[in-house]
Amino acid sequence: MKKKILISPIIVFFLILLVFFYLLIIDRNPSELPSVLINKKVPAFKAKLLFENKTFISPGEFGNETTIVNFFATWCKPCLDEHPYLKKLSNERGLKIIGINYKDDSKRAIKWLEKLGNPYSNVLVDPNARLGIDWGVYGLPETFIVNSNGVIKYRLVGPITKKNYDAFVLKVKKIEK
């Protein structure tokens, strides 16, 4: 009996160690935050468009089809890496992608999109990060999947890359169903 009690802290210690090692080994970013907007309606906002002199009104423009919302900026290097994959999503899958140009110089953003190609159906400007705050954005790029009812279903913090592209498409397909 006494022996059992003496040995139990060691067993507990190794169990804790096992949990820590497991958390170290799995592919996980501990500073990544889950979005509280998941399963909520898209936030209501008004924003100016980058290419046209028009106002975009949410949630009126959402719904009908699955929509991707992508926060990007020309000063954000991972956004540049992500760009080809957004084009792929738009060209190959015909997805509606709304771009939100976060705290950026509009002229530079127009040049950037003209040079690299424009995968966005609409590009909104967010000069003072108010849209970013409404969507709970804390690091660029961030990508949201909004379903055909205008409900946010998924958020990706960080770029879409070669590594996670297929998983992202799978998420989209699941939400489209």
């Binding site: 500073s31 935050l33 889950p34 979005s35 509280v36 907007l37 705290k103 003072n128 990060a129 108010r130 970013g132 705050i133 409404d134 969507w135 709970g136 804390y138 690091g139």
Partner: protein, 139 residues
């Protein structure tokens, strides 16, 4: 030698004071009304910067922290209460944005576990004491 040590000591002490008073709030952000400014500072101290996650937005110089500081001040100017501002932030960023986690069902373990461990600790010490007392008598 003593003098050098004294100089080093004074330097260390004063540098500590300087860094303690060094916040990231920039002069152009200040509100005119000192009462409102104080409220803004107090809220900022309780709000986590999501870029450098163990700093408050009052201490952080990250762009998002600055945006949030300005937003909080604008909301105060518009007459929002502290609670309304905290609610606005948690609706968008979750409870994680508060440096002081609220008492909820999801945070129950966080708040209760230290007391549970304390109770277990006291129990173990008590048990151990009793045992050693018995051993003493047996001798």
């Amino acid at each position: 030698m003593q003098r050098i040590l004294l100089v080093i000591l004074v330097y260390l002490m004063t540098s500590q004071i300087v860094t303690k008073n060094c916040y990231s709030v920039e002069p152009d952000e200040f509100l005119q009304n000192p009462k409102k400014e104080l409220r803004a500072r107090n809220i900022s101290k309780n709000v986590r910067c999501l870029v450098c996650q163990n700093q408050s937005i009052d201490e952080s110089s990250a762009p998002l922290a600055k945006d949030l500081r300005i937003l909080i001040r604008r909301k105060i100017e518009h007459g929002n209460s502290d609670e309304e501002i905290y609610n606005f932030l948690t609706e968008r960023y979750g409870d994680f944005i508060l440096l002081n986690p609220p008492f909820k069902i999801s945070t129950l373990f966080l708040w209760i576990l230290p007391f549970v461990f304390l109770a277990i600790g006291i129990f173990v010490i008590f048990l151990h004491n009793n045992k050693s007392k018995k051993l003493d008598y047996n001798k």
